[in-house]
């Protein structure tokens, strides 16, 4: 009798768990023993990429830290939809202070744990792109420079979503936001220099930097679990679509995130002490247009006429990422 190798295409990145997967290949979210750090009942939008990401990140962090975790959260969607007094969705020790100080608050918590000889307690700080790349940037850099024992996770939905989708320094070129409307000769966000906080984190030579996406939840969990047990400053930048702000369908969140990865617009990589140590290969490269077309924030690039020039410039950004991080290999 010959053996037929059956390839399970549905395992790996695409599957959280099912009965075909061994328990070690299942995501933490599939476990009934998961911490359920971000409990249901919160007020996030339908299809919120950030809620999805945070749920995965926190439960993975709780598992890897054996439940000894304290979380500092910046102001933003995540904090607002999860803690409407008198209720809270958080089942971890959690604190929210201000918009721009989550990294510093986390530094303080870490210092307190050190002073009390509780080095077993891990500290996780989290915020959106607004609180990380803009208003929290100085505190973030300070935390990196001091190598404070904090894992900072940025949920990047590429705009100040909580306040109505205004442009941040993470907003991609040409995207429509409330403060970069699709009007005039240069509709949407201008083509600026961009601001890669993961690369800036690498420039601080901190122990661990990674990008991740809700497109690849296993990868996201793995990175969090790897990072949580390390010491020193660590940074994970998670790409999280926002259906409301991006104008994508609520059921397309993971699909859109996947297109960002597969077009090269959002490269997945890891780095340690300033050197890239690995990346996720793009299995099936897709043109940037496929990604853009699903989002109304880029609708003006296609209607009334195709903005060939701008689409090409966005493609060039993706091409550069692919080259820089060698994503096809």
């Amino acid at each position: 009798m010959s053996l037929t190798q059956i390839r399970f295409y549905q395992t790996g990145t695409f599957t959280v768990a099912n009965r075909l997967l061994g328990s070690d290949a299942a995501a933490e979210q599939a476990s009934p023993n998961r911490a359920n750090s971000l409990n249901c009942g919160h007020r996030a939008c339908q299809g919120c990429g950030e809620a999805l990401g945070a749920r995965y990140v926190l439960d993975a962090a709780m598992r890897a830290s054996k439940g000894r975790l304290i979380v500092a959260n910046a102001t933003g969607c995540l904090e607002v939809f999860s803690t409407p007094y008198p209720e809270s969705s958080w089942q971890t020790a959690w604190m929210h202070s201000l918009f721009g100080n989550a990294p510093a608050v986390a530094t303080g918590i870490a210092a307190a744990m050190k002073a009390k000889n509780r080095g077993d307690v891990r500290i996780l700080a989290q915020g959106g792109d607004g609180g990380t790349t803009d208003i929290g940037f100085a505190c973030l850099s300070g935390m990196f420079e001091r190598n404070d024992d904090v894992l900072y996770v940025c949920y990047d939905n590429e705009a100040y979503m909580n306040t109505g989708a205004q442009r941040s320094s993470a907003t991609p070129a040409a995207a429509r936001t409330a403060t970069t409307p699709a009007a005039g000769p240069e509709p949407g966000n201008t083509f600026g220099q961009g601001k890669s906080v993961p690369m800036i984190a690498m420039a601080h030579f901190i122990p661990y930097v990674a990008t991740a996406s809700v497109a690849n939840l296993h990868d996201l969990e793995d990175k969090v679990e790897r990072a949580i047990v390390m010491r020193g400053a660590r940074y994970i930048h998670v790409h999280v679509p926002c259906p409301l702000g991006w104008g994508s369908a609520a059921h397309d969140t993971i699909r859109v995130a996947r297109l960002a990865v597969e077009s090269g617009m959002f490269p997945l990589f890891e780095a340690e002490h300033g050197e890239v140590t690995g990346h996720s290969t793009i299995r099936r490269r897709l043109p940037v247009e496929d990604y853009l077309k699903l989002q109304k924030r880029f609708a003006h690039l296609f209607k009334p006429i195709a903005d060939v020039e701008r689409i090409a410039k966005l493609q060039a950004i993706a091409d550069r990422n692919i080259t820089r991080f060698d994503l096809l290999n």
Binding site: L69, T83, A93, S97, L98, G100, V105, G108, I109, A112
Partner: protein
């Protein structure tokens, strides 16, 4: 033990005796010597069990203290002037979250124009932030107030700022009795937080409060100030028992009993005022002074008690509400409404302008003669004023 040391050093020694667990440092004149002193103590091992963190801004300094305090660590930082403004968002956050952080303010003017010298505009800018706010008259009191501050802060779950005049106190060498560790340990128990970030007992701190509950939260903060008002004298009495000297409390009177003129002020200028009081008393003038230590909470009833019998109250202010007048004055006037016929404001010492006995005496004599206007700027230089004719509305110079 008595030592002849710089005011900043006295504060650093006292704070160190309080066994802080997290100290954040960001330099700004004139407080820098305090955090440098603490840093040296941590680095040399003299101060154990303390994490000393050099942060990237004042906003970060208080934010780090916020995180540390919420995680149950006794936390401290110091700032002044521009630094206090830069961290103002965090100042309100700390009191809103009920975190017992103690912070020194080395009182300094706020720019523009940039000015590194002493006045009270910085601590005045956050008077409504919900922090307790004490003003030290001497370096001894500055040191002592920090010890009392940690005790009050942790008891009330409220942050406390201890204000000391920049340069005049921070950089002055004076005799200070630095307490022993035994004395401080007897007075200040370990920090037991009212609520704390603990993975073993998780909770959420800093949730969003809507219109349905915000008023009640603020009302309770308001009431908390009255609780503080009751506790401050009690803690000061307890301090006196343990350390053997009077320090802090709500306010101190000097020769007020039969005074017809009473002077009120915050901070170190009270020393000079008392010298003037003695001189004038020697000339038979019934004058006295009140050194207000607790500016927040503001002791309305006590002010009425101490000042109510005067014919004329003069408030010496190191701050200004442009277009309005004195800030402390407004509160004193409000407290004394219906009691004292004349309350005058003497704006003095802004931006470090020296306040002399001579000038104060002249002003107080004007008060005695009924010639002191409601608002006066002490020792104003005529020259620059004369060059701005459209800004000369009425005589404000003495």
């Amino acid at each position: 033990m008595f030592q002849q040391i710089e005011g900043s050093r006295a504060v650093a020694e006292s704070v160190a005796l309080c066994r802080p667990e997290v100290v954040c440092a960001y330099p700004i004149t004139p407080q820098t010597h305090i955090v440098e002193g603490l840093g040296e103590m941590v680095k040399s091992g003299r101060l154990k069990g303390c994490e000393f963190i050099n942060v990237e801004s004042e906003f970060a300094a208080l934010s780090v203290a916020i995180g540390a305090s919420a995680a149950g660590a006794r936390s401290y930082t110091a700032t002044a002037s521009q630094g206090l403004l830069y961290m103002t968002e965090a100042v309100y956050n700390a009191s809103g979250l009920g975190l017992p952080i103690v912070m020194t303010i080395g009182n300094r003017a706020i720019g523009a124009p940039i000015n590194i010298w002493n006045d009270h505009s910085d601590s005045m800018s956050v008077r409504d932030s919900g922090w307790l706010q004490f003003h030290a008259e001497t370096n001894q009191e500055a040191a002592d107030l920090h010890i009392q501050a940690f005790r009050l802060a942790e008891e009330l779950s409220l942050p406390v700022m201890v204000c000391m005049d920049g340069f005049i106190l921070t950089h002055a060498y004076e005799r200070v009795d630095v307490p022993t560790q035994e004395q401080v340990d007897a007075f200040l128990p370990p920090f037991v937080p009212r609520q704390v970030l603990d993975p073993a007992a998780p909770l959420s701190i800093g949730s969003m409060v809507g219109p349905d509950a915000f008023m009640e939260v603020r009302y309770l903060a308001h009431q908390k100030q009255f609780l503080a008002l009751a506790r401050i004298p009690e803690v000061a009495k307890h301090f006196a028992r343990v350390f053997g000297r009077e320090s802090g409390g709500l306010a101190r009177g000097y020769r007020t009993e039969d005074a017809e003129i009473l002077v009120v002020a915050l901070g170190s200028v009270n020393g000079t005022i008392q010298e003037v009081v003695d001189e004038m008393r020697a000339d038979g003038i019934a004058i006295g002074s009140v050194s207000l230590c607790s500016y927040r909470p503001f002791p309305v009833d006590l002010m009425r008690q101490m000042l109510g019998h005067a014919r004329h109250v003069v408030v010496v202010e190191k701050c200004l509400a442009p277009g309005q007048g004195g800030i402390l004055s407004m509160e004193i006037q409000s407290a004394l409404a219906g009691l004292v016929p004349n309350v005058s404001t003497l704006i003095a010492g802004l931006g470090g302008r020296i306040i002399t006995r001579r000038s104060l005496r002249a002003a107080f004599e004007h008060a005695r003669d009924g010639l002191l206007p409601p608002l006066t700027f002490l020792d104003l230089n005529e020259g620059p004023i004369a060059r701005e004719p459209e800004l000369q509305m009425e005589p404000v110079c003495l």
